[in-house]
Amino acid sequence: MTEDDRVGALQRLDVLDSPTEGRFDRVIRLAQQLFDVPVVAVNMVDARAQHTIAAVGMECDSVPRADSFCAHTVQQSSTFVVPDASLDPRFAHTALVAGDPHVRFYAGHPLHAPGGQAIGSLCLAGSRPREFSALEQRLLGDLASWVEEELVRSDERLEAEQVQRRLVPRRPLGLEGYDVAGGGAPARSVSGDFYDWHELPDGFQVVLADVMGKGLTAAILAAGLRAVLRGASRYNPLPIALQRVAASMTADLDETGSFVTMFAARLDPETGALEWVDAGHGLAVIIDATASTARQLNSEDLPIGAIDDDTWQSHHEVLAPGETLAVVSDGILDLFDEPWDAVETGRELSGVCATAQDLVDEILARAAHHVVSDDVTALVVRRNL
């Protein structure tokens, strides 16, 4: 298991940048009493530093790897014990041993990501030397597996995942001459991504939107947005439908400090004429029938909720026979250094995917390698040759 693999697993868990909301407090306090130590911490170790995400007896802070006991623990298969750090040449001169708080005793048990990578440690520390028995090591190991479960699951995530699952269109679009598919990466951290499609009196509409933010709030806003957009789209031109959505969601978005990026398009199936708007989304592309060129559908329009009383422009394209419209969500914000890499990847994949669903699956599989904390959603409309 490489160090990159380990650090990647830590990033995907998204624990460094999310509040822990007391999820580990019980197990930490229990460990403190059980082992009679002043300090108990849940530490994550990335490439450069150790980050304390929950603790009793110390601040939640970061220290360089060179000063970290837990950086050693993540290399172990079981509990790592230092009975007296002042006698241990690996630690005697490190900042936390030689200086405040003069750590003498340390015991840490590795914490693993779902893929088995050791990403951190549940650790104990004290200012007096001490031994740590086999029984105590087993107990610490048990508590560590409790922490591991909590790292990947929380009640809120479960609820939000359910909200998000309900956002998926229930029926295929049934659009003759076209192959339409959408999908989302299995929710690791729930976000406000969704895709949607529906029939209108004068055509078909496809949408991919992302409510900025994570968790239940974003998922609920996404559900509201989807409903409002469906209603407004029925009787309004596309730019006006966005204005209606913006007007009805301004208060919610202000309050939650969120905004929405969205790509929406209306398709006339007869001619392939595509009217589209892009509200700060920037991640839609049309790939030609031979997958040799990709044209990005760029606009200068802002996300919904970025400024008051904004408007959006319609743009026009034609989806020729064999061409593929692909839209992805901005898991990209946490993802590629260059979003254009994603466009190129999409173009190449389009050439080898026989169906829209294949392409969606491939995009999600690729994204799963890269994405740090946001989820990726993809929508594909391919016109048959």
Partner: protein, 111 residues
């Protein structure tokens, strides 16, 4: 915890962004920006020279600050934006309203 510093001078203020403007730091920045406007300095430059990472929550805080500043007759500008942050701003077209300047001095001119 992240450290967000504010220097005010009359109607103008320079707010220093945290190293990682993420879900953890965003609420604090949002609060600092709101307070700065409330205390009479709605012309805000957010110095992102020390900020290497901005996620969607961070963008939300900046957009929130922009709205508050504009409602008070001011504006919110960015200075010393890193490549990662610029990519995100361009992708979302938000660079049109959260205008990036090379330095705090550049951003502080000609309000």
């Amino acid at each position: 915890m992240s450290t967000i510093e504010v220097r005010t001078e009359g109607r103008q203020a320079v707010v220093t962004g945290p190293p990682r403007l993420n879900m953890t730091a965003a609420p604090q920045l949002r609060e600092v920006l709101a307070q700065t406007v409330a205390h009479g300095s709605p012309q805000i430059v957010v110095d992102l020279g020390g900020t290497t990472f901005v996620d969607s929550s961070g963008l939300g805080a900046l957009v929130g600050g922009l709205k508050t500043a504009r409602q008070a007759g001011g504006d919110l500008r960015l200075a010393a934006v890193s490549d990662q942050v610029m990519t995100v701003l361009t992708l979302t077209s938000l660079h049109r309203v959260l205008r990036p300047f090379p330095t705090v001095e550049d951003a502080s001119r000609e309000w």
